[in-house]
């Protein structure tokens, strides 16, 4: 094939290799089975059950009909998605058109394309085709996958796109190439000692451990259920246990149970902490940061400094007693890696926080921060939604004409009122020329640090109430997570939005 004819092929809408029909069909079937396997199992199982009466088999043609219907449906949908799928190159973009009813056209500029990967299953190998995955930074929707394309053609497209991409932005490719060579140098910021592990384990959230215990108890109960007398819906669970398990419920037993549950939950958290964070090492490398940890399965996560969009750190009551913080670095990555988007260090001391802060935001101290609070209207809203409405609901549910216990719920309202006041007082927004630092929390504090140039869209959102009161929620979205300022005065919100847009639009730095 000459170059001209190849280029002609690229610029005119082309279908995938016909092999794609089978591959799409296979994919559709696999998805169907994955979605509906419990249902299918339920249908098919009787057929394997030899003890079942054999007559029922022949009288069940609807199962066969269902299988036929599903097959026909899958075949038609794969044919449609094959015949309605075109790819071509237009200018500096790869264009995909697809869909019968919902027509979709995707333009992907070459400079946004991160990687082009080929994948070959044995079927692909047999027909000498490849599956082409084109990965752009960002969400799942941004991904293009061509199910089957001739290998030669695929390689030509890849080299063409990469060459064009290099022409557009020669700098960025050089940068990534040079960056890969010098990956080795790193500074150890911290290494967890056994004491650190203990601190982290104790200050973890124990709800998960509690959940595991309840799950375990439920499993035990289900396993021995057959040996126990039937538990009817109207039965009192306390009486049931007392009666059948020769178990006496009184204050002491409840207290013991509580203590045992607490110890177990802490134990589970500790064990999982040791498994996950054993010998945790937090490195600062030339590229960014690296975290290694694990007892049996060793995990290594790294965050490229350029890809880090925002950083968060925070503590809780216990963590504050120990003087440790949880640190999370949010980095932009392609959809395939999105599971490990945020890398975290569960127990950092203030020194490491400051190092990370200074690395992410080098000239932070050069620009003095201006402090702003949020509107006090948030107290009333929290009181209404978290205090009064739930209280009324629970009072209604537990109402009893002879008792007064349901009135105890009323205590919830002043509790929410006072915590909301603290919540409002503690919400602080620090703004300077280059970034924003927010701090909030009732007991533990949650900090977020974001540089303006990392932002990629700004949203101002107002409920009807907020519209009336001229306050707004402001969201700064980045390629990895967002920062929200609730109940910010509208004029300030507008001003900050205009300023941020200005900063982003004049900034030519590479933000990811």
């Amino acid at each position: 094939m000459s170059i001209e004819s190849k280029q002609h092929i690229l610029s005119s809408p082309t279908r995938q290799s016909p092999i794609a029909i089978f591959l799409i069909l296979w994919k559709v079937l696999r998805q169907l089975i994955r979605q509906a396997w419990p249902f299918l199992l339920f249908l098919i199982l009787p057929y394997f059950n030899l003890s079942a009466s054999s007559s029922s088999r022949s009288e069940d043609p609807w199962l066969a009909n269902l299988v036929i219907a599903l097959t026909v449906f899958s075949t038609i949908s794969s044919l449609v998605s094959y015949f309605k799928y075109y790819y071509y190159i237009q200018g500096d973009e790869l264009v995909i058109e697809k869909g019968l009813f919902q027509k979709v056209k995707i333009n992907m500029p070459f400079d946004r394309i991160q990687t082009i990967n080929f994948e070959q299953t044995p079927i692909h190998q047999f027909f000498n085709v490849v599956r082409m995955d084109i990965d752009s930074a960002g969400s799942v929707q941004n991904e293009i996958a061509i199910q089957a394309i001739d290998k030669e053609k695929a390689e030509y497209i890849r080299s063409y796109i990469m060459a064009e991409k290099a022409k557009i932005a020669p700098k960025s490719i050089e940068a990534t190439a040079s960056v890969k060579e010098e990956e080795e140098q790193s500074v150890l910021l911290m290494q967890h000692s056994p004491l650190d592990l203990l601190k982290i384990g104790i200050s973890q959230n124990h709800l998960r451990g509690l959940g595991i215990i309840f799950g375990f108890c439920f499993w035990i109960f289900q396993s021995i259920e057959d040996f126990l007398p039937e538990f009817n819906e109207g039965d009192n669970p306390v009486e049931y246990v007392e009666e059948h398990l020769s178990f006496d419920f009184n204050g002491a037993v409840v207290l013991y149970l509580f203590v045992i549950l607490l110890l177990f939950s802490i134990g589970i958290s500790l064990i999982s902490t040791i498994f996950r964070y054993f010998n945790l090492q937090f490195h600062k490398t030339d590229l960014g940061f690296k975290v290694k940890s694990g007892l049996f399965t060793k995990r290594e996560q790294s965050a490229n400094l350029k890809k880090i969009q925002l950083i968060r750190w925070g503590d809780s009551l216990l963590k504050r007693l120990f003087g440790i913080f949880r640190l999370n670095l949010f980095q932009a990555s392609s959809a395939a890696l999105s599971a490990s988007k945020a890398i975290g260090v569960p127990g950092c001391y203030i020194d490491q926080i400051n190092t990370v802060r200074a690395t992410y935001f080098p000239n932070e101290s050069e620009h003095p921060y201006e402090e702003h609070g949020i509107s006090s209207l948030i107290i009333g809203r929290r009181l209404l939604y978290m205090g009064i409405l739930p209280t009324l609901a629970f009072m209604g549910l537990t109402y009893h004409p002879d008792g007064y216990y349901y009135l105890l719920w009323l205590l919830w309202i002043p509790f929410i009122f006072f915590t909301s006041r603290i919540f409002h007082r503690n919400w602080k927004v620090f703004i300077n020329q280059e970034g924003i630092h927010t701090e909030h929390g009732i007991i533990g504090k949650e900090h977020t640090l974001l540089q303006w140039y990392k932002i990629q869209s700004v949203t101002i959102r107002q409920s009807l109430y907020q519209q009336r009161k001229a306050v707004a929620d402001v969201y700064f979205f980045t390629a990895a997570g967002s920062v929200k300022i609730p109940y910010f005065p509208l004029d300030k919100a507008q001003a900050i939005k205009d300023y941020v847009l200005y900063k982003v639009e004049v900034d030519s730095r590479d933000w990811m």
């Binding site: 333009n107 752009s136 969400s139 020329q433 990629q456 979205f477 004049v506």
Partner: protein, 207 residues
């Protein structure tokens, strides 16, 4: 002053509130009405299949009338919201960013600078096709929440805006000077060359 100690005066920055929003096509209201009608008819069908299959009206008459009342209430609210939503929904195309406003109960205004746009898509549902309307989707790298979808764009408008944005994203990296944002009228920006591209595209693909 809200921001102190900075190189420019905030009041001189372009203000979003002052710009005028471009409304969507009037037909978009019809699209939403048709969509809503179909949805509510299906719902009504579901309700009546319950009525036919079960003896709900004898057993739980209050529940039955409650369901019907809820259906009526929801129907009226949703049609009202479409109408109110149409007046609010709009977009502004500026030199360096695009603004989209929507929502009645929760009014939100989202702005995406062109130098942060990853790619754009044009899509068209079956009802929109009846009125020759398109939806323009603008994607950023964050995924999900920070993306924009502007529905109800008439004829070539979606294609033209898309070409405009794609062109802007390509050159955005080289620019470093101060932005002089102004509400931009579409027609002078779309050059003859671009519209001919979109025309050939339209011819070949029955858009």
């Amino acid at each position: 002053m809200f921001f102190e100690n900075q190189e420019i005066d905030t009041s001189s920055l372009p203000n979003i509130a002052e710009t005028t929003f471009q409304k969507l096509s009037k037909n978009y209201v019809s699209v939403r009405y048709i969509g809503n009608t179909i949805f509510f008819l299906l719902l009504l069908g579901g309700l009546f299949s319950i009525y036919i299959e079960t003896s709900i009206i004898e057993d739980y008459p209050t529940l039955w009338y409650g369901l019907l009342a809820f259906w009526c209430f929801w129907l009226i609210t949703s049609f009202l919201l479409v109408k109110l939503g149409y007046d609010i929904r709009g977009y502004v195309l500026r030199e360096k960013d695009i603004i989209h406003r929507k929502g009645v109960l929760f009014k939100s205004t989202t702005t995406i600078p062109f130098n942060r746009v990853q790619h754009c898509e044009i899509s068209q549902g079956p009802i929109q096709r009846l009125f020759n309307l398109h939806t323009l989707e603008i994607f950023t790298a964050g995924g999900g929440k920070s993306d924009l979808a502007i529905p109800g764009l008439e004829g070539d408008t979606a294609q033209q805006i898309k070409e405009f944005i794609v062109k802007k994203t390509a050159i955005a990296e080289e620019e470093t000077e101060l932005p002089e944002d102004q509400t931009t009228d579409l027609s002078p920006i779309i050059t003859d060359e671009e519209s001919s591209i979109s025309k050939t595209f339209n011819d070949s693909n029955e858009y």
